[in-house]
Symmetry: C2
Subunit: 204 residues, 2 copies
């Protein structure tokens, strides 16, 4: 019994450290991006040595893959937790607002678009790809519902809507507005939603 509890305690500590590593990785990825993030950065941020880091994740690709999977899971959880009866378009708006708020606080979702290198790396990560496909099928359903109910433009192919939507979660305009405009976070989120769903054109 004492051995068992000791083991599970060790396991718990291991899990906790793993969470700390993924937190650090996510934050560093958000600020420096994949290529500039070094394993030294991560180890130092967590307060462990590099070899210890490699005990948890066998490579940089592995580590970043795990961080990205956690983000996708976060999105899936958010979708799951949504109040029933929310209109499809409101679901899309809420999810985008959630992602943008995380980004504005330095938590970055959705790195894959930044470079072909990173994209190919993630494409080789089977577990990651499976999560993305799962999220994507859920999103596809929501978009089709929204089109059927006349909330989204039904003339646009579903692919176009989905990719345009995903691209908004990592839109560089967010960082530029944060840097060069005096708008606060919530105003930036609202503006991005407005631009995404209503476009730049005058509606009249």
């Amino acid at each position: 019994m004492s051995i068992l509890s000791k083991l599970s305690f060790k396991d718990q500590a291991f899990k906790l450290r793993e969470t700390a590593i993924l937190d650090a990785t996510t934050a560093i990825l958000a600020s420096k991006g994949f290529d500039l993030m070094t394993m030294d950065d991560v180890a130092q941020e967590v307060g462990i040595s590099k070899p210890s880091l490699y005990k948890h994740f066998k490579s940089k690709e592995d580590l970043v893959g795990a961080a990205m999977i956690r983000l996708i899971d976060g999105a899936l959880d958010y979708l799951e937790a949504m109040p029933a009866g929310l209109s499809p378009i409101q679901q899309l708006k809420d999810l985008l607002a959630w992602a943008l708020r995380i980004r504005l606080e330095g938590g970055m979702p959705f790195l894959p678009s930044t470079s072909t290198h990173v994209r190919e790396m993630l494409t080789r990560n089977l577990k990651y790809v499976m999560r993305v496909l799962k999220l994507n099928s859920k999103m596809e359903v929501i978009v089709q519902q929204a089109q059927k109910q006349g909330q989204l433009n039904a003339a646009l192919p579903v692919d176009v809507i989905l990719f345009a939507y995903y691209a908004r979660t990592c839109d560089p305009a967010v960082e530029y507005l944060q840097l060069y405009s005096k708008l606060d976070h919530e105003t930036i989120v609202e503006s991005m939603l407005e631009v995404c769903f209503s476009g730049l054109k005058n509606q009249a």
Copy 2:
């Protein structure tokens, strides 16, 4: 006289090679991005040695800066060459379509958004910053005209419109549509314009 013409001939050859270098750089940047592009890549693509490359550009930053400046100049030229009397919103649409077509053909404009690293590097390049500011002031005028004439949403801050617009020129949705959808180039361009100006929402 013969010396002078010989010199100017040499100068011409030098300029030609410089153009070839910038072409290669632009193409490689478009496919691999800044971090993965090596000076060896560029030298090999042009068919010269690395030290020769360094005779033209004193560093990788310098080289990429020059390539980006040429792209901005292309945009400025395109604006300049526009037929007079074109409505402001049509100018914006034409310029965006022009940029997207270049991207679809592997010519990439507007790298700066890809990472903070690249952005900071370009920010240190005075010549580049000056060109960007010049382009930006022209764009600002067009956007304000469009708002005044009721073509663009006047409720949105000019900054929001400009950054959202710039972001569309390097929208990752373009690459995803190119990769995963069966849409041809022109349909992608039209879809992106539609999404940019009218948004995803149903217009009714």
